[in-house]
Amino acid sequence: MTTTPVDAFEQSLADLPVRIRRTATDDLDETLEACLDPPTIGVALPFDDISLADYPITLNPTGEELLAASTGVTAGGPAIAEYGSIVVTSRFDGTEHTSLYPDKHVIVLAASDIVPTLANAISELEEAIDDGLTSAVITTGPSATADMGAPVYGAHGPEEVDVIILTDR
């Protein structure tokens, strides 16, 4: 049996508290709504035909909404099968804040964006940076610390990470 990139990605995250949901674009509504702990903020996804405005998600939050949000929804990719990591790129849209301030980060990822290795992802990033990208983070699981005497999730960033893999994208 050959392992698909999606399987490999999922296996790499086996030891981390990350919930992975696979879905076809048509079934996204149900999957996405299951992930949201309101209030939710988000930034527009780069996928045709999917608009977060159709969901109970605040797209351009006020300062107060940003601080109060429990869930932040962003896109991600490329993702790295060997580590279960996802690259989250930020442009002019507040992706960093949306992915860091709320307790839960929901990442929407196209299955075709999963690459085998970290080196593959870095070479994609290298091109994007050459083309003007100024900020990206390779995230693997939730924010973590061991500085308070034991491992704890949710240090300065999200305590929970949900990944939605769009199987037909």
Binding site: T62, G63, D130, D147, M148, P151
Partner: protein, 750 residues
């Protein structure tokens, strides 16, 4: 800058180490050991580990070779991106520059991500003196800021703080009505407290793990996510980084990112690796009008300042011995893998800023040799960090060279009557007496055998012991080596040799100074085993390897030993004789340090033709020798001694670094023994280290871990064997039952 404290006296050192063992030792040990075990586990899983390490080292070497060029390149790329670059000559220059940036912005509050380089330049003090409100956001740094303490580890700065201590600290400092208790409560309190500071900060200050010169891209590695939060929330980002953080391109990042999580704590990869090409496009979040959109989307008015810190680094680059220090990626693995560090942490095993094995290089380079002199002796040269370091830095060698320099810089006006007669070395007279005494062990041993048993009686006279302690720092509690009147070589020459009937190999059995004068029985056993396996054995007169002086930082003396050994063994090797070595630390010299101590390729023949004793026996068995020639457990009824079928084996630190532990285990198992091994990094004795009075407590604390492993129900009845002399000495003081070299178990003549 703080003033250099005067060097501690031996008594003050003893007291300081004892105090840290009592106050911080336990927490340090509990925190660091899992990091170390994690690294072993993860390294073992990584198929490409050695490729990554070699590649990472190649990139670092290339980057440091081309450093001036990379500095110019990053100046251009960062300026083109819209940021500024400043090359700060020293700490004061860097502090002044950052303070000026803050003042020109009219800033009031600064939030910081973890940066050891800002610790090195003592940036916080300078910013606070300029009336800025400064907050560390890395949770460990935050704890230290509240506690007003110094980092105790370069990667995890608060390893000496337990949860209970942190809870007590927070509850008292913040005067909380509902006391915090659990790690979750502490974390969430700190998160909220710091969030208020981050959202109202004017400047975010970070370090950088790597800076790709090609695009001016910074890589920042965290688990908490605080770096990104600090840097994208305020509109001004100041990154303070040593010049050595430059790498040529983004494409050079993968090996480092693949290694740093595993090396540091056994993580596959850290939770966050941020790449910034600042100033970034992200909108500045505005919390001042809570009901207005937080982001002025599409409009990012940000500034970025890169402060590259020299502070001695360009001089380190010109210094053959310190140069490799600049390859360090500050993962902390050398600290985690160090048996001494595991017991005392960075407050003893560290200088002004840096701690652990590599700290000697950093401190000597950025703060000066005096700072390194405080703790440099805590590196015993056990070499366990060498396999741990993701960029293959020869950390023990850096420690040795700095020790040698400290020796040479020592006060040469002191005249050492007592030690001089016994120490015919090539070193300056001002060098520490204890170092000279231990460094000249060979002379001492010759005298000891010549005058035995008188020399041993002297060793028992308590007035003499207390004089030896006072003058040369030899711990009274330690039993001194028992010199044998008949040396191993004398026995070998006097005996009636039986020529092996069918010689399969010819070998020199190297008569190291311990085997020759003290552990004579293991030499005899080695001869009997080798001859039983049809090896033609000779035991020529060869000087000691130079390990003893080298470990005291006496490089010139060690070099002259190396030349002597080379001259004595070269003809035998030329005649096709193998060199079999009993003492692992001597083999490590032949295969390691001799490359540095002998000219050109002179070290090669010995390196290639020398074998650890049990490695050699293993090779003979592999090539058809009969296991039945060895004494197995079934022969034990006839055999003398109390050796059982079940063995507890403690290998030797340098033997493990050479990858030779397994051979001993395999030979014992083939001979029919059941073997369990210890998994401590070091027994704690480490040559002469445990004999020194100021380190005795630490040595015993390290040894205690081994004692526990060998007194558990599973191991308490097992026969104890160990490969190294100093390990055997240490085991003698740790355990009530005797210990011996594995060859004595296998000895058909026992």
């Amino acid at each position: 800058m703080t003033d250099q404290p005067n060097q501690l006296t031996r008594r003050e050192k003893t007291a300081k180490i004892r105090h840290l063992l009592e106050t911080e030792g336990e927490t340090v040990h509990e925190t660091v050991t899992p990091f170390n075990e994690g690294r072993y586990r993860r390294y073992a899983e990584m198929d490409d580990l050695e490729e990554y390490r070699a590649e990472a080292r190649r990139i670092q070497k290339d980057a440091i070779d081309r450093l001036p060029e990379l500095i110019e390149q990053v100046r251009d790329t960062v300026t083109e991106n819209g940021g500024s670059v400043y090359l700060a000559e020293d700490a004061a220059d860097a502090r002044r520059h950052v303070t000026e940036i803050a003042e020109s912005k009219g800033a009031e509050r600064v939030v910081k991500a973890k940066s050891m380089t800002t610790e090195e330049i003592e940036l916080n003090d300078a910013l606070e003196a300029a009336d800025l409100d400064v907050w560390e956001t890395d949770l460990a740094e935050f704890v230290l800021q509240i506690a007003e303490e110094e980092p105790s580890h370069i990667a995890s700065p608060a390893i000496h703080k337990s949860r209970e201590e942190i809870a007590a600290l927070f509850n008292a400092h913040f005067d909380l009505d509902e006391p915090l208790q659990t790690p979750e409560e502490l974390t969430s309190f700190a998160r909220e407290y710091l969030l208020d500071r981050i959202t109202t900060a004017d400047i975010g200050v970070s370090g950088a793990n790597f800076i790709a010169a090609d695009t001016g891209t910074l890589a920042l590695i965290t688990n908490e996510g605080n770096a990104r939060k600090c840097l994208v929330t305020p509109d001004t980002h100041v990154a303070v980084a040593g010049v050595e953080k430059l790498i040529p391109t983004i494409a050079d990042l993968p090996p480092f990112l693949n290694l740093i999580g595993p090396a540091g704590a056994g993580q596959d990869i850290t939770a966050y690796v941020s790449l910034f090409r600042p100033p970034v496009d992200s909108p500045v979040a505005d919390f001042s009008e809570p009901n207005e959109p937080a982001f002025d989307v599409g409009n990012s008015d940000r500034s970025f300042h890169l402060v590259l810190v020299d502070n001695g680094r360009m001089a380190m680059r010109e210094d053959e011995a310190l140069r490799e220090t600049l390859y360090c990626i500050r993962c902390g693995a050398c600290a985690n893998s160090c048996a001494n560090f595991q017991q005392v942490g960075g407050h003893a095993f560290g200088g002004e800023t840096y701690s652990g094995g590599i700290a000697t290089g950093w401190e000597a380079g950025v703060h000066g040799e005096e700072s390194a002199a405080e703790f440099n002796d805590l590196c015993t040269g056990c070499s366990r960090c060498v396999d741990a370091c993701p960029v293959n830095i020869d950390i023990p060698w850096i420690n040795t060279v700095v020790r040698d320099r400290i020796n040479h810089g020592a006060d040469t006006s002191a005249f050492d009557h007592l030690v001089d007669g016994l120490t015919p070395d090539d070193e300056p007279t001002g060098i520490d007496r204890s170092k000279r005494l231990f460094g000249n062990f060979e002379t001492l041993a010759k005298w000891g055998s010549r005058t035995a048993p008188l020399s041993n009686t002297i060793a028992d006279v308590s007035v003499l012991r207390s004089a030896l302690d006072r003058v040369a720092g030899v711990e009274r509690e330690r039993e001194l080596p028992r010199f044998q009147r008949e040396t191993f070589r004398a026995w070998f020459e006097a005996r009636d040799a039986v020529e092996p009937s069918d010689t399969v190999r010819e070998a020199v059995l190297y008569p190291d100074v311990y085997t020759n004068h003290v552990q004579v029985d293991r030499g005899k056993a080695a001869v009997r085993v080798l001859e039983a396996l049809d090896v033609d054995v000779t035991v020529p007169d060869v000087p000691s390897s130079g390990r003893a002086p080298l470990s005291q930082g006496m490089i010139d003396t060690a070099s002259s030993h190396a030349r002597g050994v080379h001259a004595a063994l070269a003809p035998d090797i030329g005649d096709g004789r193998d060199v079999v070595v009993i003492e692992p630390s001597d083999l490590a010299m032949f295969q390691g340090e001799y490359e540095r101590l002998l000219p050109g390729d002179a070290h090669e023949p010995l390196a290639e033709n020398s074998y650890e004793l049990l490695e050699y026996v293993f090779g003979l068995l592999e090539n058809g020798a009969e296991t039945s020639a060895l004494c197995g457990p079934d022969d034990r009824i006839a055999a003398r001694g109390d050796i059982g079928t079940e063995i507890a084996y403690h290998s030797h630190c340098q033997q493990r670094t050479l990858g030779l532990e397994g051979h001993t285990v395999a030979v014992l198992e083939r001979a029919g023994y059941d073997v369990v091994t210890s998994d401590v990094e070091c027994c704690g004795m480490a040559g002469s280290f445990g004999y020194k009075s100021e380190y005795y407590d630490l040595s015993m604390a390290v040894g205690d871990v081994l004692r526990e492993q060998f007194t558990e129900p599973e191991t308490e009845d097992r026969t104890v064997v160990a490969s190294g002399t100093s390990c055997l000495d240490q085991l003698d003081s740790l355990l009530e039952r005797p210990s011996r070299h594995p060859i004595q178990v296998l000895d058909p003549g026992r």
